[in-house]
């Protein structure tokens, strides 16, 4: 071993002192473990819920999906009324929320001056901060009576012959659920749409204006076509939120396992039947059947979410985190 100059030796000992021992691999292991936890939780969600619903799956068979009778006393479990209620309320709310939400987004990005856009945008985002159960409380005592007196009664008097407006208008029912759900889905749709529309390059707008478009024509020809897939993603994110929403809907929909086209009728959704009946479920089979509905709900929302994220991601990555924060 040849003698190194003193300087070089000192540098070498210094480096040796700072040489990573196990710190790096330990820390790396820790963060990898944390990330695997996310994966494990998702897998666990599916597996645990599937395991708990095995009893129900074995007893109910495939007919569970289209059975219309929900009779826990005689152990007859059909999930169609809940699937119907979920589809009816979530899609209706989605259509309304998309119309309003895209309108708000266009207003904020294209029309409103900054001093107006900021507070309105903020207020729409705050809609998402109100807990679901508070919407439910408000729905029971404020919205439902108001709907009964000023919306449902007039509709019933004039258009009662139509199946949508048949039956007794009592306020609590499908219509109240749709309205509450619209309010709750709105911030998601509006926030993501706003980001997607703001991400449209100005050259699109300038091109439209340069050929003589009015402001609305600019939006229609230059902005909306460009933002289309992102807005679609925003809508699907909203749908996932609407399908999984539980408390507010449970409190205003009336909780009756019926399939009726009427907006006045009392209904039930997949999420609300679980919330409402779980603690009353007296037999293992009853409870397992409720969890089976939860499994169905989980699979549907996982699928919807995956599609929505992929759509939005292509347009505006940060939009998805906005919807998370909203």
């Amino acid at each position: 071993m040849t003698a190194l100059p003193a300087e070089a030796r000192r540098v070498r000992t210094l480096l040796a002192e700072h040489r990573p021992r196990h710190g790096e691999s330990l820390f790396r292991g820790l963060v990898v473990l944390a990330s695997l936890t996310v994966l494990a939780v998702i897998a666990g969600l599916v597996l645990v819920i599937a395991k708990e619903s095995l009893l129900g799956i074995a007893h109910n068979g495939v007919a569970f999906l289209w059975g219309t009778t929900w009779d826990p006393v005689h152990s007859v479990f059909g999930a169609l009324p809940f699937i119907y209620g979920t589809i009816l309320t979530a899609t209706s709310a989605l259509v309304l929320a998309t119309l309003i939400g895209v309108g708000v987004a266009l207003f904020l990005v294209e029309l409103a001056p900054g001093w107006l856009a900021r507070p309105i945008g903020f207020m729409v985002e705050m809609l998402a901060a109100i807990p679901s159960v508070v919407y439910g409380l408000w729905g029971i005592f404020v919205l439902a009576p108001w709907l009964r007196a000023y919306v449902e009664a007039p509709l019933h008097d004039r258009l009662g012959a139509l199946p949508f407006f048949s039956g007794n208008p009592i306020g609590i029912g499908n219509m109240a659920a749709i309205v509450v759900l619209t309010i709750m889905v709105l911030p998601t749709v509006a926030a993501v749409s706003r980001d997607v529309i703001a991400a449209v390059p100005d050259s699109q707008r300038e091109a439209a204006l340069a050929i003589g478009a009015t402001r609305w024509e600019m939006i229609r020809v230059g902005v909306l076509p460009y933002a289309r897939s992102g807005i679609l993603g925003a809508g699907i994110l909203g749908l996932a939120r609407g399908v999984g929403e539980t408390m507010a809907v449970t409190m205003v929909i009336g909780n009756a396992p019926t399939i009726s086209p009427s907006l006045f009728a009392q209904g039930y959704t997949m999420a609300s039947v679980i919330a409402n009946e779980f603690t009353e479920a007296t037999t293992d089979l009853y409870r397992s059947s409720l969890i089976e509905i939860g499994l169905l709900l989980l699979i549907i929302t996982l699928f919807i979410n995956a599609v929505a994220r992929l759509l939005v991601w292509r347009v505006a990555y940060s939009a998805t985190s906005r919807s998370l924060l909203a």
């Binding site: 939780v41 666990g44 539980t246």
Partner: protein, 292 residues
């Protein structure tokens, strides 16, 4: 999505009609904004007007009376919410921050995309399904509803929120900061822990506050985990009450005194959530992109 401006889609020469359409559509967009804001104002107004008269000291210090008797309070619910939200945050946040660090600092761009996707998917799982998960995972083996099961459910809900915020906040720390640390011979992990993380700390903390505000209002995941409790409970292995659960029970119950207390409890809950949200937004706005 590379749509171009198609001049053929601007029809007609009738400029008067086109201007009228422009005005009508502009007005409709403004109406949409008004329609979106009205519910917020209404909900706040009602919670304030109905809740304020019933908000008093006994509400915060007493346990619920037997059904139908007036008086009593929601003390067990207030305590239970604090305990379970606190515990859920303690359980979920460290994992979330570490996962966020992995996404931003360690995973390659593909790995990062994959885990971000998983985090987003987890964020989209209905909270009631998270409740069922905690039921099967904790309540069934333990044989009893418990506060710890509720806290675990809440931890699963806060996890993706904080992970995503951490990821974004770390992304705001300039690469030159990391390079400066590397140049001094500091190993990557120490750079992250001692240099990058402190630089992003305030953003991450506000993200955590935001998550706390979210889980504080959750009802569905607690129904089959914490269950609810009429009395103050100090045991984590027994059922525990929570404000959202109490509001649900009281709102759907038959008594006027319950309804009043439901409004007052809602005022408490909304106040709590609002303070956290406002705080967060204020700090996030100062920090740039994520808080727009």
């Amino acid at each position: 999505m590379s749509a171009t401006v198609d001049p053929l889609r601007i029809p007609g020469r009738n400029i008067r009609r086109r201007r009228a359409t422009d005005r009508v559509m502009g007005a409709l967009l403004a109406v949409a904004a008004v329609v979106a804001v009205v519910p917020l104002v209404l909900v706040f107004a009602y919670v304030l007007i109905q809740g304020l008269p019933a908000l008093n000291v006994p509400l915060l210090t007493q346990s619920p009376m037997p059904a139908g008797f007036p008086g009593g309070g929601v003390a067990p619910a207030v305590g239970g919410t604090l305990v379970m939200v606190g515990l859920g945050t303690l359980l979920g946040t460290p994992v979330a921050v570490l996962a966020g660090i992995y996404i931003r600092e360690y995973a390659g761009s593909r790995g990062a995309t994959a885990i971000r996707f998983l985090v987003d998917v987890l964020a989209g799982v209905p909270t009631i399904a998270v409740g069922l998960f905690a039921y099967g995972l904790v309540v069934v083996p333990m044989g009893t509803f418990s506060a710890i099961a509720g806290a675990i459910a809440l931890a699963v809900i806060i996890l993706p929120i904080v992970a995503r915020v951490t990821d974004e906040m770390l992304g705001l720390v300039p690469g030159s900061v990391r390079e400066a640390a590397y140049a001094l011979g500091i190993p990557p992990w120490k750079t992250i822990v001692r240099v990058v993380l402190p630089a992003a700390a305030s953003g991450i903390v506000t993200g955590i506050l935001l998550g706390v505000a979210r889980i504080a209002g959750e009802t569905a995941p607690l129904i089959f985990t914490a269950l609810g409790n009429q009395r103050v409970s100090t045991s984590l292995t027994e059922p525990m009450d929570a404000l959202p659960l109490r509001i649900w029970v009281y709102a759907t119950g038959p008594y006027d005194s319950w309804h009043q207390q439901a409004w007052a409890a809602s005022l408490l809950l909304v106040g709590l959530v609002l303070i956290f949200s406002l705080l967060t937004r204020f700090v996030l706005r100062r920090r740039g992109p994520a808080g727009r």
